[in-house]
């Protein structure tokens, strides 16, 4: 009985160490007030996948825009702005306001939705 207990604890320790090693997981959640699940749902509803590859979102295999996988490991948003949470939220909601030459349109959405989407992008691999 005790042996089995020890083995279980050992397994837990090992796995937590393994989890810590997975890239991307060592970041703190950086969006305050963003819900990744609702963000995923919003990404699907707005069909951002028409232009972007977004892991975990159905039909998100577009090639017009950049792929949005491993977003938390990226240094820049849109190749020119620092990858800060507030920057990403602003970019999602109104990209042309930040980069007038961009092809990414401003889509009418609430700040909450943009925040959720950003949260999802930071969470997903």
């Amino acid at each position: 009985m005790a042996g089995r207990m020890f083995r279980f604890i050992g397994l837990l320790l090992t796995s937590s160490w393994l989890v810590a090693c997975i890239p991307g997981r060592d970041y703190e959640p950086r969006i305050i007030g963003g819900d990744p699940d609702q963000g995923r749902e919003a990404l699907a509803r707005y069909e951002c996948g028409v232009c972007h590859v977004i892991p975990g979102v159905p039909d998100a295999i577009g090639k017009t825009g950049p792929a949005l996988d491993n977003y938390s490991r990226r240094s820049y948003v849109a190749g020119k702005f620092p990858n800060e949470p507030e920057v990403l939220v602003r970019w999602i909601a109104d990209a042309p306001a930040m980069a007038p030459q961009t092809a990414m349109p401003a889509i009418a959405m609430s700040d909450k939705e943009a925040r959720d989407m950003a949260a999802y992008l930071y969470e997903s691999d």
Partner: protein
């Protein structure tokens, strides 16, 4: 001759020394590489079943990939293009490379045993059918790896599949690939029909045949009439694709619905071609498992005959949504419902039989219960789909996907798997694992329901068939998830059966076992030569009627206990009351059917990819092999009578309608005639639907003068043949040869004039449905002119070599009856082509 049972056993003991050894020697299995040359039904039947199971696994893997793609909406495991190939191949492989072949394979394996024959009458034909199917099927399947697999659906509706919307080779692979499978199926059907009608044991009159023989006889007939529509349809579509001859193009006097009529005129009977043999197996197994004779034998025969007949009258229920008037649909709705009556009748006969007996609770019984559950549900949804307004909703949705899998898996796969567990001891001498079988049955039953029941609901929630992805938000997610899980469960069940076979199934030579205490003849002691001696059958369940029968048969106390003529042989009996007529000398092992089969497959496949040299080589190999094999197929009559016991002495040769060969020729002509009838149907169908005139004003009709002259040429040719036939009994061989040559000249003149009647007008086959049909009709005559040339040449050479005389004349007779058929067809073709004149 003997239509009553002998008073005492026909042969006495002890048997003469060496008799048994000689029997063993002629049926000896070849060794080494020459194993492949086997033609014995016990070898070919097993290989055939094994190949079919291989294609079941391959087709199943395609299905698992599709189910994985559909596990969530918007999945991207496979793209649309591969998915469309996957579902097309899954349907085609399961229908053409698994379902139809496996029922013919089981027939080839079991029929001789059930009817106490040493083999079927044309062992090399079975071997040919197997090799063409196996080699061709494997190559056809590999197209999926080269992005060349067909993607038009197994139903291949034009115009999607015509040259404009499906350029490239994919569709051609389907059309030509199906070609050799059609040939293989027809070859199998000829073997089975003639085998059942002519090689039954003495005394086994039609009403004493095991019910499985009835099923296969009816199915053989259905293949003869059911495959020709699809043979013609595939040929027409290939002509349209390759040469732009319009048959299915509305703007050029064709009609896309013509394809649907022809395809489903095959496609629906095909479902019963698959189901009836399985039902026959069920009838056999139910009676044995319940240890009581089948209740309602005659009713079941009538039910199967009714099913076979009605199945040709309900193809339009695949076309309820094509906008035909409602009342005309209702005729087909009524027929579609009516076909449920014979099915219900059989189900109640089986249940009644189970009630009357003490049922052995073993794996075959469990599979039979699984069959009841799955098949009855599929039958009930089938009745729903026969309801026209309901079908308008359910048609082409996952509801239909669910229905057809319930019917085919329930109506065919479960009985076949029950059969595997039931008949495996017949081949290997011991039962498969009871434990694995029970598990497999349970898992398969859960799997099939988990996979397919949710599909009914997905369909009703608006999921159409043949979609590589679906939208979320319509409630489809959970049902698709369940189906995908179920598919893997189902696959696991099938895997257990295959594993069981792998572990516990080893063909044994001599087998003497009857584990289920069955009453039918296949459970007599079996060896390479089948049974040692052939009993006179007085009862539907001979082993129950006479418990000492196995010992008597194995000791050689019944008819033909050795080899009378010194080669492989079996007894030919009359078709209805099974009186012994002659001893049929059977051909032995040979490379020829292997070469012919491989050559046929190579020809069709090389033609698809336009490797013309290889195609021609394949055709030559096939043709030469077939001619060499036919050359050996009419051995000289010895003129002697052979004692088979019981005071019965039989000749080794017969002619006319007594000859088994004559019967196969007649069956072949029925197939031929059915294809031609479909061509005529095409002509009149296009005539009635084409709004632009048939032919349109701008086109001419065939020349009347040439047409009349062509008809006269046919008449002259027939007259010459008639004279030739009169000369033969008078032994005027020179005159026979001369008149035969004249008859052949008449054929070519008739064909030339028929063609001339078209060529001298402004008709060009690319212009209009009338022209394309007329040219096809004439081309069909040309094909027969070639056939008659081959037959006449073959006959003339044998005449020259003295291999034809007033007695040995089967080759001559076959040529002669084919001649009359071709002439009738040629004249009818001329009449049909000119018939629009009457309407003017």
């Amino acid at each position: 001759m003997s239509s009553r049972p002998p008073d005492e056993l026909p042969n006495t003991l002890p048997r003469p020394a060496g008799e048994f050894e000689r029997l063993q020697a002629v049926w000896k299995r070849p060794r080494g590489w020459r194993v492949l040359t086997q033609v014995n039904n016990t070898a070919i039947g097993l290989w055939y079943i094994g190949a079919a199971l291989l294609f079941l696994v391959l087709g199943g893997i395609l299905a698992l990939i599709m189910r994985t793609q559909l596990v969530v909406p918007g999945n991207d495991l496979v793209d649309y293009d591969l998915y469309n190939q996957l579902f097309t191949m899954h349907g085609s492989v399961m229908m053409f490379l698994f379902a139809v072949p496996v029922i013919e394979a089981i027939g080839i394996l079991l029929l001789p045993a059930m009817q106490g024959a040493r083999d079927l009458p044309f062992p090399r034909l079975s071997a040919y059918a197997f090799w063409a199917y196996f080699v061709g099927g494997l190559v056809f399947f590999t197209t999926i790896f080269f992005d060349l697999a067909p993607d038009g659906g197994w139903f291949m509706y034009p115009p999607l599949t015509s040259y404009e919307f499906s350029p490239g080779l994919r569709t051609d692979f389907w059309l030509l690939g199906i070609g050799f499978i059609e040939i293989s199926a027809i070859a199998g059907a000829i073997e089975i029909v003639v085998g059942i009608l002519r090689t039954r044991p003495p005394g086994m009159t039609l009403d004493k045949m095991p019910i499985y023989l009835w099923a296969m006889l009816i199915v053989g007939a259905m293949i003869i009439f059911g495959f020709p529509p699809v043979i013609l349809a595939t040929a027409l579509l290939e002509l349209e694709r390759a040469f732009h001859w319009p048959f299915f193009l509305a703007e050029k006097g064709g009609d896309p619905l013509l394809w649907q009529h022809l395809f489903w005129l095959f496609g629906h009977p095909d479902v019963y071609i698959i189901f009836l043999p399985a039902a026959g197996l069920v009838s056999m197994m139910v009676a044995t498992m319940a240890q009581t004779p089948l209740i309602g034998y005659r009713w079941i025969v009538v039910a199967m005959l009714a099913t076979g007949t009605i199945s040709f009258a309900l193809w339009v229920h695949h076309m309820f949504a094509t906008g035909m008037p409602h009342l005309s649909l209702s005729f087909f709705s009524a027929a579609s419902m009516a076909v449920a009556i014979p099915a219900g009748l059989q189900v109640f006969s089986w249940i009644a039989t189970l009630w009357r007996g003490n049922v052995q609770r073993t794996t075959p019984t469990y599979f039979l219960l699984g069959f009841f559950g799955v098949f009855v549900l599929g039958g009930l949804t089938g009745v729903m789909l026969a309801v026209v307004p309901y079908d308008w909703q359910a048609h082409d949705t996952y509801f239909v996907v669910a229905h057809l899998h319930y019917v085919l898996i329930g109506g065919m796969l479960f009985p076949v798997f029950a059969g595997i567990y039931y008949w495996a001891p017949l081949i290997s001498g011991r039962q498969l694992s009871e434990r694995m079988g029970t598990w497999a049955c349970t898992i398969m039953f859960i799997g099939v329901n988990l996979t397919f029941f949710p599909m009914h609901i997905a369909g009703l929630l608006g999921m159409p068939r043949r979609v590589w992805t679906y939208a979320d938000g319509y409630g489809l997610e959970i049902y698709n998830l369940l189906s995908t899980v179920g598919a893997f469960v189902f696959a696991a069940g099938i895997g257990i059966v295959l594993l069981d076979l792998l572990l516990h199934f080893r063909p044994a030579g001599k087998v003497n076992t009857n584990p289920w205490r069955a009453g039918s003849l296949e459970w007599l002691p079996q060896d390479e030569y089948a049974i040692r001696s052939i009993p006179f059958v007085t009862n539907r369940d001979p082993l129950w009627a006479n418990p000492s029968l196995p010992e008597e048969v194995d000791a050689g106390q019944h008819y033909l206990p050795g080899t009378a003529t010194g080669v492989r042989e079996t007894i030919v009996t009359s078709p209805i009351d099974a009186r012994p007529q002659y001893v049929l000398r059977l051909p032995g092992s040979s490379w020829l059917p292997v070469l012919a089969g491989v050559g046929t497959a190579v020809f069709f496949l090389a033609l698809t990819v336009k490797w013309m040299v290889i195609a021609v080589l394949g055709a030559i190999v096939a043709l030469v092999s077939i001619l060499m094999w036919l050359w050996q197929s009419d051995p000289a009559p010895s003129g002697k009578l052979f004692d088979i016991g019981g005071g019965l002495s039989l000749p080794d040769y017969m002619t006319g309608s007594n000859s088994h060969s004559w019967w196969s020729m007649v069956v072949l002509m029925l197939v031929d005639g059915s294809i031609f009838a479909c061509l005529i149907f095409t002509f009149f169908y296009l005539w009635t639907v084409t709004l632009s005139g048939f032919p349109p004003e701008s086109l001419e009709l065939p020349l009347i003068g040439s047409s009349v002259a062509a008809a006269l040429a046919w008449a002259v040719s027939v007259a010459a043949m008639y004279v030739s036939n009169r000369m033969l009994p008078q032994k005027r061989m020179g005159a026979v040869g001369l008149t035969l040559t004249a008859a052949l000249a008449g054929v070519w003149i008739a064909f030339g004039l028929s063609l001339h009647a078209l060529l001298e007008t402004n008709l060009q086959p690319q212009l209009h449905g009338y022209a394309s049909t007329a040219y096809t009709t004439v081309a069909w005559q040309g094909l027969h002119a070639v056939l008659l040339t081959l037959m006449a040449g073959f006959t003339l050479v044998r005449l020259w070599l003295g291999m034809i005389d007033p007695v040995r004349r089967v080759v001559f007779d076959n040529t002669r009856i084919m001649w009359y058929y071709c002439a009738a067809q040629g004249v009818l073709a001329l009449l049909v082509m000119s018939s629009p004149r009457l309407a003017m």
